[in-house]
């Protein structure tokens, strides 16, 4: 919110405080100044100059002038403006001055320039006479500010003095951040109250006085049909209105916060909104039909054209202000075109009302229309301001002499009191929140400064809370008021002197997860983190069939865009996209893993919490890697959890039909791995083959396996190599399973050769294994290993029709 220093000064006497000090004070009591704007920062060394001589330069539009700049001297300056004249007083930028450079139109500012000595048409010129635009002044700041010739000062202006105070460039604007609990500070007087409190100064409230005459509109009524969202509506009729320009001081203030002056009546509504935080509206009485105002919810498909000539279609969620016949405003957002103030307006109905903040917010969002008024309502308006703003507006009507105040004042009130409310708190409790003992006299001073009227009675602090402080509820709120004014630098560090000791740290599950991540790093993989939501199109990329369970994903009702619109049911799409992005950046080889949740709904749409299944996903790519590289990483996962996986060939729509396996933990399928199918790789523009693996971590987490030690055998182990002949469709895993179950002394089985071709039948292949037998408590007998081998071969023959290769 924009706070001009010059405006603030009307309510607090702060001539002894620099803008920087004020910024720090505001910051310390909870109002961060996001930007401190020095209005005159670009303009320097521009003083009032009197043109003492002014001769035209032949054949040009230029004049050569002698300019008396008082104590700075007299300078010869060439000037092309059409209003330069002998005896005139103008801003003169001395050599070395900075002013705005304008484009050829003399209006558009193109930057800041430094004035140098120069020659125009061979004539020396020491300085420049300036227009309003060139020193950053417009019509609302100083009369003649918009004129594209020179800005002219009155005859009695002293020469040689700095122009900044004259044109109001010695001002500062504070852009103040207001927290959501302080809507009362969304206005100049609200911040003035805070500034007065923090600086121990008096707050001078603006005048609310006015005199009503005897004119009335007796038939006029206000009916509020939606009291739940319009707790207060005040209307006041003003007659004998004369629409004119507002006085310069008002135009200037509106201008400082970026509002255009329009006409006295409209400017008063805007001025009061800025000053008191209460949006106001003025209707042209002549266009209010039926002598009444009705506040109601809009009908479905009801249409209204607003002041800015836009038509909106409304519905039952929107609140409208109507007369006896038609709607005349979208409540709290914008007035209707049909009843706007015109140059011909002679009678006005002022509106000051309180509307529910979420109602206005929803309407404003739904219509895509945000106005200064709707912004204020969204943050919250209190009724104290609703009442006082009307008084202030009527005071200004009187002060500006732009109308007469009738006695017709209608106030529909179902809301809160505007009187202060009593609150009693314990000083001890306040101090207990803070952890320090704030001297009672400081608490009293702070409460007084905030206009809380404190009365102390022992530990009891009785306060009268002004109605605009709706945020004040209990002693913690008082504690906050005390400490923000007393100063947070009084808070000293302590470390729970009264608290009980607790044991901290990761639980076993969290430790296992971290160990898993570290183990995957140790085999060269980088951890990555992806969004929990993906694109529904990702399921198409994976060629998943229509009835695939992965497609049963939870949808976000209001996603940022379609690409981030469903909760992931698999981590594979995010991983494949990451691989694709890396390959596009010429990272042609790599290993990534992610540990994250997939979201499995128990029902759709959601009626209960879905399952969030912790899942491991590994992706690798590059010429150096193959299926077995990824498999070794999957085995690493098994190792982490002190278990073993089995791999069974499987089919997945996005994996290579002959390089894919289901990962089995016992009889339970807990994941898969494989080479990314070429069709999928093509859609992702992959240049290098990629491999992907996904494992459900829940089952692994629930295993009760743990690190353990097997004593080394005291006796010699034995090795045997077996070359076996079998049908081509038998897998290594099947053979290994049979070997393994044939003898309990087998520690390790390693495949060392695969052969097909000459010397063996066409439909057969040969696999050669090296088997390691390790004795247990006793040494192997002389022929023991031979017996083991015999049993293995017998089982292989029986189960798989495998023969020893001779």
């Amino acid at each position: 919110m924009l706070l001009p220093l010059s405006w603030l000064k009307e309510y607090v006497d702060i001539d002894d405080v620099t803008p920087k000090e004020l910024e720090e004070k505001l910051f310390s009591c909870g109002f961060e100044v996001e930007e401190l704007i020095d209005l005159g920062k670009d303009v320097s060394n521009v003083v009032v100059g009197l043109v003492t001589e002014c001769e035209p330069i032949p054949d040009t539009h230029l004049h050569v002038c002698q300019v008396d700049a008082g104590e700075h001297g007299t300078f010869q300056i060439c000037c092309g403006a059409d209003n330069v004249r002998k005896g005139g007083k103008f801003p003169v930028a001395l050599v070395g001055a900075t002013v705005y450079a304008t484009a050829k139109d003399h209006k558009t500012i193109e930057g800041v320039m430094t004035i140098k000595k120069g020659k125009l048409r061979g004539i020396e010129s020491e300085g420049m006479l300036c227009s309003g635009v060139e020193i950053g002044v417009n019509e609302n700041m100083y009369p003649g500010g918009d004129y594209c010739g020179l800005l002219e000062f009155p005859e009695d202006t002293p020469i040689g003095v700095d122009v900044k105070p004259i044109v109001g460039l010695d001002d500062y604007i504070f852009d103040v951040g207001i927290t959501a609990n302080r809507p009362d500070c969304q206005c100049i007087t609200g911040l003035a109250r805070e500034v007065a409190a923090v600086l121990n100064k008096e707050y001078k409230a603006p005048s609310l006085e006015y005199t009503m005459d005897s004119v009335t509109k007796d038939q006029f009524t206000v009916e509020v049909k939606a009291q739940d969202i319009c707790p207060r509506y005040i209307g006041h009729y003003v007659h004998d209105v004369e629409i004119k320009e507002s006085p310069l001081w008002m135009k200037r203030r509106l201008n400082l916060v970026g509002l255009d002056a329009i006409s006295n009546i409209v400017d008063i509504t805007n001025y009061v909104m800025l000053e008191m935080g209460q949006p106001m509206h003025a209707f042209d009485w002549n266009y209010i039909e039926g002598d009444k105002i009705v506040v109601r919810r809009a009908e479905d498909k009801e249409k209204i054209v607003t002041l800015d000539e836009q038509e909106y279609e409304l519905n039952n969620n929107n609140l409208v202000i109507c007369d006896g016949v038609k709607s005349v405003a979208i409540a709290g957002v914008m007035g209707g075109l049909n009843s706007e103030i015109r140059d011909t307006t002679t009678e006005v109905l002022f509106e000051s009302a309180k509307f529910a903040r979420d109602s206005i917010r929803k309407t404003s969002r739904a219509l895509g229309k945000r106005t200064d008024a709707s912004a204020k309502y969204e943050k919250g308006v209190d009724e104290y301001s609703t009442v006082n703003a009307m008084k202030r507006a009527l005071h200004l009507v009187e002060e500006l002499g732009c109308g007469k105040i009738s006695s017709t004042h209608v106030d529909c009130n179902t809301g809160n009191s505007t009187e202060p409310r009593e609150m009693v708190v314990s000083i001890n409790k306040v101090n207990n929140v803070l952890g320090i003992e704030v001297p009672t006299e400081d608490i009293v001073r702070i409460m007084k400064n905030l206009d809380f009227n404190p009365v102390i009675n022992g530990d009891e602090l009785k306060l009268m809370i002004p109605a605009y402080r709706e945020d004040m509820e209990d002693y913690p709120d008082v504690a906050e008021e005390v400490i923000r004014m007393y100063g947070y630098d009084h808070i000293i560090s302590s470390f729970l002197p009264e608290a009980q000791v607790t044991m901290g740290g990761l639980n076993p599950r969290q430790k296992k997860e971290l160990k898993l991540k570290r183990d995957l790093c140790s085999v060269g993989a980088y951890e990555c983190i992806h969004y929990s939501f993906i694109s529904p199109n990702d399921f198409n990329t994976l060629n998943l069939p229509d009835d695939a369970k992965e497609r049963q994903a939870i949808r976000i009702l209001n996603p940022i865009n379609e690409d981030l619109s469903v909760m992931r049911t698999t981590l594979v799409p995010s991983m494949l996209n990451a691989i694709s992005r890396n390959q596009k950046k010429a990272n042609l080889q790599g290993k990534l893993f992610e540990v994250g949740n997939k979201f499995i709904a128990k029902s759709l749409p959601l009626t209960e919490y879905p399952d969030e299944v912790p899942t491991i996903c590994i992706g690798i790519w590059g010429a150096k890697y193959d299926f077995y590289t990824l498999k070794s990483m999957a085995n690493k996962v098994a190792d982490t959890f002190f278990t073993e996986f089995k791999y069974v060939p499987c089919k997945k729509s996005f994996l290579h039909p002959y390089q894919a396996a289901a990962i089995m933990l016992g009889d339970v399928e807990i994941g898969f791995l494989g080479k990314v199918a070429y069709e999928v790789a093509e859609k992702l523009d992959l240049r290098e083959d990629a491999y992907v693996c996904e494992i459900d971590m829940n089952t692994l987490m629930n295993l009760d396996t743990k690190a353990s030690y097997t004593p080394l055998s005291k006796f010699a182990d034995a090795n045997r190599d077996l070359a076996l002949l079998m049908n081509k469709d038998i897998t290594c895993g099947q053979v290994e399973d049979v070997i393994k179950k044939s003898c309990k002394f087998i520690k390790n089985i390693k495949l060392f050769d695969v052969y097909e071709g000459k010397n063996i039948p066409e439909d057969k292949k040969s696999l050669a294994f090296s088997i390691n037998f390790v004795p247990g408590e006793e040494e192997f007998e002389a022929d023991a290993v031979d017996r083991f081998v015999k049993k293995i071969l017998k089982n292989l023959k029986n189960d798989l029709d495998v023969d020893i290769r001779s």
């Binding site: 310390s28 961060e32 979420d358 470390f495 729970l496 044991m503 951890e527 939501f533 990272n587 990534l592």
Partner: protein, 343 residues
């Protein structure tokens, strides 16, 4: 006879001078003279019988002297040859040590995980347990229980991703703390790290980011305790010299609420580009738990009070490592991920 001895001696010296250029040739040479059976010095002993008996003793002594001398000469020679050969071997193995090494690649934890682990280490040491809530929450736990009234701007569809009228993606990890406070009785000291979601997507915002929320509920918890705890945290993460500054702020679930700034760890508070000249960097929000929140969880707010703080892990990590764009954290570019190894 003496001449013979002298000539052998000379022969040895000449042999060394002219032929011994390696350990092997030196050994061969030694064998010619000192081999117990065929060596020339050994052979001399066999000639003892041809020596006049009175000279035998003298002769034997001289031969032994020669033998000793030769042994020592050959031993020295062997040492020398050994040294020479080693030197050659070393020379032959000369490499260019400036050639870059091929390293066995190990991966890294994600920078967010690394930062998360560091924060957990600090707070675990202070007695915090780690509790991870769910990413999908319902409206009550994410908002209502946290004293965020129905018409609060934070509940607007603009900020929150809704999955149904009731379920949403949590916007803050505080949601999980309500579950803990409902189940456990004080003393409670929990740290809740996790993914949170807000409908923001621009240069500085990501629709998903990571928060770490801390909560302490016990008797007589004060703002001073909050400052003490946060001072300790920033000193562990950013260095012993770091201090904190509290300033008023607003969150629905804490009262009083504060923003916490740390003294700039880049410039030490003098003012620099990182702290935008202020000497301070905003890192987290905190406060005394709003008594309504305790009451919503069935905790007696007359007996117990609490403190809470929420840290944006991305922000802390980006500040610590100088990562300039939050989006880099979620793009999985190996060239980003391989830069940070701080755990």
């Amino acid at each position: 006879m003496i001449e013979r001895l002298n000539s052998i001696k000379q022969e040895i010296l000449d042999g060394i001078e002219n032929h011994a250029n390696s350990r092997a040739t030196a050994f061969e040479l030694r064998k010619q003279f000192l081999d117990s059976k065929t060596g020339k010095i050994g052979q001399l002993m066999k000639e003892m019988k041809n020596i006049a008996p009175e000279e035998r003793a003298n002769f034997g002594k001289s031969v032994n002297e020669l033998k000793d001398w030769a042994s020592s000469v050959f031993a020295d020679l062997d040492e020398k040859m050994k040294a020479k050969e080693l030197e050659l071997k070393y020379k032959a193995e000369k490499i260019d040590v400036t050639i870059d090494a091929d390293s066995e690649e190990t991966g890294n934890l994600h920078p967010i995980t690394q930062m998360r682990n560091q924060l957990i280490d600090v707070f675990a040491g202070m007695g915090f347990e780690i509790f991870e809530g769910t990413e999908i929450e319902n409206d009550y736990y994410n908002f209502t229980a946290l004293n965020t009234p129905a018409d609060h701007p934070a509940r607007d569809m603009q900020d929150t991703f809704y999955l149904s009228p009731e379920f949403l993606l949590r916007t803050q990890t505080s949601a999980g703390q309500i579950h803990v406070m409902e189940k456990e009785k004080p003393p409670i000291k929990i740290l809740s790290p996790g993914k949170v979601f807000r409908s923001d997507d621009d240069a500085t915002h990501s629709p998903m980011f990571t928060q770490m929320e801390g909560l302490v509920v016990d008797k007589k918890i004060t703002l001073c305790d909050l400052k003490g705890m946060l001072d300790m945290f920033v000193q562990k993460i950013y260095g012993e010299e770091t201090t904190t500054r509290l300033r008023p702020s607003y969150f629905p679930f804490t009262e009083p609420s504060v923003e916490v700034d740390v003294s700039c760890f880049e410039c030490g508070g003098k003012g620099c580009k990182l702290c935008k000249g202020t000497g301070w960097i905003e890192i987290l929000g905190a406060g005394i738990v709003n008594k309504k929140v305790l009451e919503n969880c069935g905790i007696d707010s007359e007996e117990y009070s609490g403190l809470a703080f929420g840290i944006g892990i991305e922000r802390v990590a980006m500040l610590k490592y100088g990562i300039n764009n939050i989006k880099h954290l979620f793009e999985s570019d190996i060239n980003v991920l391989n830069q940070i190894n701080d755990n």
